[in-house]
Each structure stands twice: as structure tokens, then as C-alpha cells.
């Protein structure tokens, strides 16, 4: 009955069923929904959220939360754009470093990873609650973005960088490639590596994990660093797609990614959930947004509906957990 594989399967099955029903209903309601173009649209639209949400899944599985990913996204995008456009001057050495596209991309991911590491350091070393540590980082990263950009967008980044957002390879948009690759990597990381197993153990029962000899701090540090780096990747996609680094990019994205993780069946108390669930969660949100848009539903109503879906998904999940524990 409560075999772990079956429960995981049924949880997945429920999300899949919900997604299938939505697709079916929208196909009947709108002739524009079930087209190849619209399909790519949806995938492109969810790619940024999925990058953030994969990182958020790791964080939530470990029993934490990360409110700073939206702000880190903005800073990483702005840093990459700034380095690409203006380089960086080192007056003391009388040199001005120019950055290639690859260099700027690497810098963006590193900035994200570094800020994520700081989150993890504050949480493991100073025992700050993740909510507080990452709330602080949200403000810090947003402020740094404003300082770096002076509050103005950095635009005109060139074609080679732009390809990251708008290009295609073998007929598939680049953001979708990135999204698929990251999904594949992190499904393997969570399900097939020692780190992944330890991550579930830390989130499921930190005390037991410590008594089993796991290095809880190192695992958490890695989780927040990865979440930051993935936010950096998301920042690059956003910046490349708009050919512009907006200081206000990613505002509130952390909440969308938490929503996707939760709809995907990952428990906010940690230790239970999966990356594949999160992919379904992102798809459900993406299809819902897209469908309501096609049906000319006001964006305000879209928010209301999204909220209801979150509540419904978690209520169903809770009901199931309660049945299992009794």
C-alpha cells in the first residue's frame, strides 16, 4: 500500500492527470492552443522558471527555502551584460579586461554560485534560519544590481550572447535545450548520486542524518551554491532573450518557483519530492498561464487561478500524507 515507489508514482500520476486534463480542456476551448508554435512558446516561457525551480527543489528537499533566487537572477544577468558590454577596468594595473561571450556567461554563473554559497555559509555557520538568510540576500543582491547598473538597463549585447535566449539548435530553442539538459543532470544527481541520497536524508531528518555520520553542513552549502548558480543560468537566459539586463528582472520569481515546486508535490518540510515533480509543476503553471491568456482571461484573474491551483495541489498532497501516516 504505502510502498515508497507506489506513492511516488501515484503522486506523479495525479500531476500528470491534472496536466492532461488541462491540455484537453484548453484544446477544446481554443483553436490556438494545440499548435506546434504554441507548444514551443510554453516551453520557452517555463524555461527560466524551471531553472530556478530545480535549484529551489534541492533547497526545499534539504528542508530549507531560498527567497533570493529572483534577485540573484537579476545580478547575474546584469554582471554578465556589463562585463560583455563594458569589460572591467583595473586602473591600478592600467588594464581594461574585455570579456568574450563565454567569459561573460561563466562570470554570470559564478556570481550566482558565489551568492548562493554565501547563503549556505550564513545558514550552516551562523545557524541563521534559511528564510532570514535568503531574505537578507534578496535585498543585498537587488541592491548590488542597482549599484552595478546605476538603475538603468544594459542593452545591446550582441548576437552571439543573444543566441542563448533566442537562438535555436536542431530546431529547438536554446532555452529549451538548457532546460532539458539541466533537468536530466539534476534528475540523475538527486536519484542516482550519493549527494542526492544524502540530500533527502538531511531534509527528511537532519538529526538522524548527523548521527549517521553525514556532513550536514557540507550538503547544505552545496545545495545553496547550486541554487545560486542555477539562478545565474536563469539570469543569463532572461538577459539574452531581451538583449538587455533589466535591474528589475526576476522580481517575485522566487515565489513562482516555490509554487512550481509545491505543485509538483515536493513537501515544504523537506525530504519528500522530486525534480520530475517540479518539471510537472512548471508545466502546469506554464500551460495554465498560456491557456488563460489565449482565452483572453484578464491577467488579474490568472493570478487568482494560480493561487487556487497552489492551494488545491497542497491540500490534496496533505490529505494523502495524512492517510499514509495514520
Amino acid at each position: 500500500m504505502a510502498d515508497s515507489k507506489y506513492t511516488a508514482f501515484f503522486a506523479r500520476f495525479r500531476s500528470l492527470l491534472a496536466l492532461a486534463l488541462m491540455v484537453l480542456a484548453l484544446s477544446l476551448l481554443s483553436e490556438h492552443f494545440l499548435t506546434a508554435d504554441n507548444g514551443w512558446n510554453i516551453l520557452r516561457q517555463i524555461s527560466v522558471n524551471l531553472c530556478l525551480s530545480i535549484g529551489m527543489t534541492l533547497v526545499i528537499l534539504s528542508g530549507g527555502i531560498d527567497l533570493s533566487v529572483g534577485a540573484i537572477l537579476a545580478l547575474a544577468g546584469a554582471v554578465a551584460a556589463g562585463l560583455l558590454k563594458n569589460g572591467v577596468g583595473l586602473p591600478a594595473l592600467d588594464v581594461a579586461l574585455q570579456f568574450t561571450t563565454a567569459g561573460a556567461i561563466l562570470a554570470g554563473v559564478l556570481v550566482g554560485g558565489a551568492l548562493g554559497w554565501v547563503n549556505g555559509f550564513a545558514i550552516t555557520r551562523f545557524q541563521l534560519p534559511p528564510f532570514v538568510a535568503t531574505l537578507g540576500m534578496l535585498s543585498i543582491a537587488r541592491g548590488l544590481t542597482m549599484l552595478w547598473t546605476g538603475g538603468f538597463p544594459i542593452t545591446g549585447l550582441g548576437d552571439s550572447f543573444g543566441r542563448l535566449g533566442t537562438g535555436a539548435f536542431l530546431g529547438m530553442p536554446m532555452p529549451v535545450w538548457i532546460m532539458l539538459a539541466l533537468t536530466a543532470v539534476f534528475v540523475v544527481v538527486t536519484k542516482r548520486t550519493r549527494f542526492g541520497r544524502h540530500l533527502y536524508a538531511v531534509g527528511g531528518n537532519e538529526r538522524a542524518a548527523r548521527l549517521t555520520g553525514l556532513n550536514v553542513s557540507r550538503i547544505k552549502l552545496a545545495v545553496y551554491t547550486l541554487a545560486g548558480a542555477l539562478a545565474g543560468v536563469a539570469g543569463l537566459i532572461v538577459t539574452a532573450r531581451l538583449d538587455s539586463a533589466q535591474p528589475n528582472a526576476g522580481l517575485g520569481y522566487e515565489l513562482d518557483s516555490i509554487a512550481a515546486v509545491v505543485i509538483g508535490g515536493t513537501s515544504l518540510s523537506g525530504g519528500r519530492g522530486s525534480v520530475t515533480g517540479t518539471v510537472l509543476g512548471c508545466l502546469i503553471i506554464g500551460v495554465l498561464n498560456n491557456g488563460l491568456f489565449l482565452l483572453n482571461v484578464s491577467p488579474f484573474w490568472q493570478q487568482v487561478v494560480k493561487g487556487l491551483v497552489i492551494l488545491l495541489a497542497v491540500a490534496i498532497d496533505k490529505m494523502n500524507t495524512r492517510n499514509r501516516d495514520s
Partner: protein, 512 residues
């Protein structure tokens, strides 16, 4: 119906079971106006369960409670309170960031005409109550700023101020100073004068002579003695608490002692600010191959803390020397201890031992996952193949390895923990209350496994607050009381009376 005119509260035939354990079977208790009845018994004898039932924390499975001759049934602590039953719990239940006055009158705050809290009256009333307890703190002081002893007095003040007719005190003196204890005894005498009936749980025998009128003695969820205090000697009480029909659970194989495996010297663990200055104080012990060392002590004796310290959980506070097989070692984390061949099965399985959202297989392999990797990646096939023999060895009953651990019985969960550690190839097993909350058949199996593992040359330290368990399993018994080692007995010398004497605070000095 009783002819006893002073009787206020009478419980009869109380039964209570928890999953896997029968906590109370057919227990009765009589509380009389103006008298104090002391409840005595080992940890786990059922005293606290009965108190929880009387104060409405949970209902009994069967039995009746009569108040003034009328049958009552409490569905919540609030209901028991409104019927005049007050309780001071052993664990503090105050809210740290509210004031003394706010805590004492929590839920029954005096109001002004407008419905707001009448702080003037609240604080004035509190001052009166505090004066009665000779407690010199301001009504507006925060609980968090008080010493533990003062907090305990505030807890007592809360119960006293509710003008309860029956007052239950669960080890009220455990962190009080000598003066505070004296004041408390004065308050108790005063309450008796006013006709309040008192129930008093304690492990400190010397207190009884000051306050006690009647005693009720518990053992294994039954009442084994009920008498006026004056009619019983200390020795008679200890015999009633300890003595029991020999449990034919298990026959120990004579130990084949090998070389010295573990030696700990002067292990000391300071407390964290509140409470006793030392949780573990200057404890030394030696463990050999093939030996089972039993550690007995009452709750709070420091047994769990001793095991945790040996296991490298308190590197920043603990002091003392440790050697494994003659080589000095120092553990700064459990990982170090595990690498040196130690394993710890913790007392609270759900809190410390198991990852509840994970499967049986994932829990069992958590400490030895490295040995099952294929090319650096987790392989569920290899994992299952590696761990299955260990689970079979301990006869874990589970429909499949993928079953969630939370669905197994307590006994099977404990066996999974044993399998998990055995899979790491340990030399030393530390078992903290290995049979807590599991049924008698699983208990018997665990005993047999402990015996078997000792036969294989492992050294085991078994901590237990069940005396018969320690006596049945151990080759040597080390007794702890209030953080110190008070006695050590060979198997032949360890009689129930001697061990219990060494474990009881004021008798410990006599035994060693």
C-alpha cells in the same frame, strides 16, 4: 462506593495501551483531602501515564475516575482544570517570552470593563501568589530571564493560584535549591491545611518523610503496593519497586571476554547554561571484545549524554580521554566515531534514528551507501543486494525493501537500525534504550541479537532504564546518577536492590 469520607479523587481499573506497549493495566489511585500521596516506581512504571490521564491530557482505554463520588471524564486539560485538578509537569510548560504574571494567569486573565487585560490586577494578584512561595521576582519579569529553579516555582505558583482541589506535582524539586524546597514543603503543608489533596511523584526518598502521608507503588504498569507511609521502611519500598517475577525472556550465553576495545577516562560534559553544571561528570569506563556493558540510571542521570559524548556529538564542550584498542582517539564528529568502528542506535528512534519519508532500504543503507555505489553512482540493485542480508539477519518483517520505514512496527524499525549499523562493520555498538516502546516478542528477539553480536566479538554498551533488561543482558553494570558514575557491578554482584540503590539520588552515596 468507598466509606472513606475524605476521598476527593478516586481512579479505578485504569487501562492504557500505546502501540506495542501496555502502559497501565488495572491501576487505581485514591487522593484524600488534606493528605499527600506519593507515587513511587521506576521510569516507565506508568506514573506519568496515570498523571496524564488524571489531568485530561489523554483519555484512558478503560476504567473510571470519580470526583467527589461522581464519575467524570476529561477530554482536555482545560476540562480537568475547571474540575479543580491542577498539575505541575516535570517538563516546564511556561512561555519564555511572556512575563511571570502573564504565565501564571494564562487563559484566565482578569479583564477590565472594556474587555482588555487588567494588568494592574494581574500583577497585584501575582505578587500575592509569589509572596506565598517566597519567590522574589517581579510579576513583570520575563520567564526567559529566570533561573530554572525559579521557573519551576512559577509553574507551582500557577497551579496553586488556580485554587485546585487536587494538585499533582511531578518531580517538582528536580531543579530547586535547598531553600526553595523548604518553601515548597511549607506551601504543601499549607495546602493540606486547606484540605487540598496532593499527588507527588519523586525519586528522592529523603523528601518523603517531610511531606508524605500515603504511598502508592507502581511497577510495570500495575500498582504493587499501597500503604500509609509510616507503615513502610525504605527497604520495603525499594523491594516493591524493584522485585519482580523473573522474566524468562532470555538466557544469556556466558561472555567470552577478549582484548580491551574501548577505554574512556574522565569523560565530562558541561551543561548548557541552565540546569546542572555537568550533564556527565568524570565518568570512566572500559569495554572489551565480546562484552555487554549495561548502563543503568534514572531519567536525567546523563546516560544518553554519555553515549552522545563517546560518539563525538559534543566535541566543543566535552572533555576526557578516549582510546580504541589501545590507541588514543579524538572524535570531532559522528563521522569520525563511525570511521573508528562505533555505531549508535539512539533512544528516540523517530527523532534521531530514522528518516521517516525514506524507504526501508534507503534507511538501512544510509551509513554504508559508499559500499554499494556502481561507478560512483547509486545503484538500487546493488544497494538492495548489499543490504538485504543484514535485514534478513535481523528478521525485519517488511512487505518490500521499498516500503516506507514509517509503516513498520517499532520492533522492526529498531531492527532496521541494527541492520544499518551492522552493515558498516562496526566494532562497538552503543544502544540507547534498545527496546523502548516495542512489544515483548520483538524485545526477546533484540535481546537474542545483542547476545549473538557479543558472541561475534563486538563490544556493546546498552543503556536502559528498565532494570530487568540491564540485569538480563549485561556482563557488567555501570550505574549513573546525576551525571556521575555511582557504582559498577559484575554480573554476579548486580542484584536489583543494589543497582537501584546506586541509581537513586540520596541513596547513591551508601551504595558505592
Amino acid at each position: 462506593m468507598s466509606t472513606d469520607t475524605n476521598l476527593i479523587l478516586e481512579a479505578e481499573g485504569i487501562e492504557k495501551s500505546f502501540p506495542g506497549v501496555r502502559a497501565l493495566s488495572g491501576v487505581g489511585l485514591r487522593v484524600r483531602a488534606g493528605r499527600l500521596v506519593a507515587l513511587l516506581g521506576e521510569n516507565g512504571a506508568g506514573k506519568s501515564t496515570l498523571m496524564n490521564i488524571l489531568s485530561g491530557v489523554f483519555p484512558p482505554d478503560a476504567g473510571t475516575i470519580r470526583l467527589d463520588g461522581r464519575e467524570v471524564r476529561f477530554t482536555s486539560p482545560l476540562e480537568a482544570q475547571t474540575h479543580g485538578i491542577g498539575i505541575v509537569f516535570q517538563e516546564l510548560s511556561l512561555i519564555p517570552h511572556l512575563t511571570v504574571a502573564e504565565n501564571i494567569y494564562l487563559g484566565r486573565e482578569p479583564r477590565t470593563a472594556t474587555g482588555l487585560i487588567d494588568y494592574r490586577r494581574l500583577n497585584a494578584d501575582t505578587a500575592t501568589v509569589l509572596a506565598r512561595l517566597d519567590l522574589k521576582v517581579a510579576p513583570t519579569a520575563l520567564i526567559a530571564d529566570l533561573r530554572v529553579g525559579q521557573q519551576q516555582l512559577v509553574e507551582i505558583a500557577r497551579a496553586v493560584s488556580a485554587e485546585a482541589r487536587v494538585l499533582i506535582l511531578d518531580e517538582p524539586t528536580s531543579s530547586l535549591s535547598a531553600h526553595e524546597v523548604e518553601v515548597l514543603f511549607g506551601v504543601i503543608a499549607d495546602l493540606k491545611q486547606r484540605g487540598v489533596g496532593l499527588v507527588y511523584i519523586t525519586h528522592k526518598f529523603d523528601e518523603l518523610a517531610h511531606v508524605c502521608d500515603d504511598v502508592t507503588i507502581f511497577r510495570d504498569g500495575r500498582v504493587v503496593g499501597e500503604s500509609r507511609f509510616a507503615d513502610l521502611t525504605r527497604e520495603a519500598i525499594v523491594r516493591l519497586m524493584a522485585g519482580r517475577e523473573s522474566q524468562e525472556l532470555f538466557h544469556k550465553t556466558p561472555a567470552q571476554l577478549g582484548a580491551e576495545l574501548l577505554h574512556a577516562e574522565a569523560v565530562t560534559l558541561p551543561g548548557e547554561g541552565v540546569g546542572r553544571p555537568f550533564l556527565v561528570e568524570q565518568v570512566s569506563l572500559t569495554l572489551h571484545r565480546g562484552e555487554v556493558l549495561g548502563i543503568f540510571g534514572l531519567v536525567g542521570a546523563g546516560r544518553t549524554e554519555l553515549l552522545e559524548t563517546l560518539f563525538g556529538l559534543h566535541p566543543e564542550r566535552a572533555t576526557g580521554r578516549l582510546s580504541i584498542e589501545g590507541r588514543a582517539v579524538e572524535f570531532v564528529s559522528p563521522a569520525d566515531a563511525i570511521a573508528a568502528g562505533l555505531a549508535l542506535a539512539p533512544e528516540d528512534r523517530k527523532r534521531d534514528g530514522l528518516v521517516l519519508p525514506m524507504s526501508v532500504a534507503a534507511n538501512a543503507s544510509l551509513a554504508s551507501l559508499d559500499r554499494t555505489l556502481r561507478g560512483g553512482f547509486v545503484s538500487e540493485t546493488r544497494e538492495a543486494a548489499y543490504i538485504a542480508p543484514y535485514l534478513e539477519r535481523f528478521r525485519v518483517k517488511t512487505p518490500s525493501l521499498d516500503q516506507l520505514i514509517v509503516n513498520l512496527s517499532g520492533g522492526n524499525q529498531q531492527k532496521v537500525i541494527l541492520a544499518k549499523w551492522l552493515a558498516t562493520g562496526p566494532k562497538i555498538l552503543l544502544l540507547d534504550e534498545p527496546t523502548r516502546g516495542i512489544d515483548v516478542n520483538a524485545k526477546r528477539e533484540i535481546y537474542a541479537f545483542i547476545d549473538e553480536l557479543a558472541g561475534l566479538g563486538l563490544g556493546l554498551i546498552v543503556v536502559s532504564s528498565e532494570l530487568p533488561e540491564v540485569l538480563a543482558l549485561a556482563d557488567r553494570v555501570l550505574v549513573m546518577c546525576e551525571g556521575r558514575k555511582t557504582a559498577e557491578f559484575s554480573r554476579a554482584d548486580a542484584t536489583p536492590e543494589r543497582v537501584l540503590h546506586a541509581a537513586l539520588p540520596d541513596l547513591a552515596a551508601l551504595a558505592s
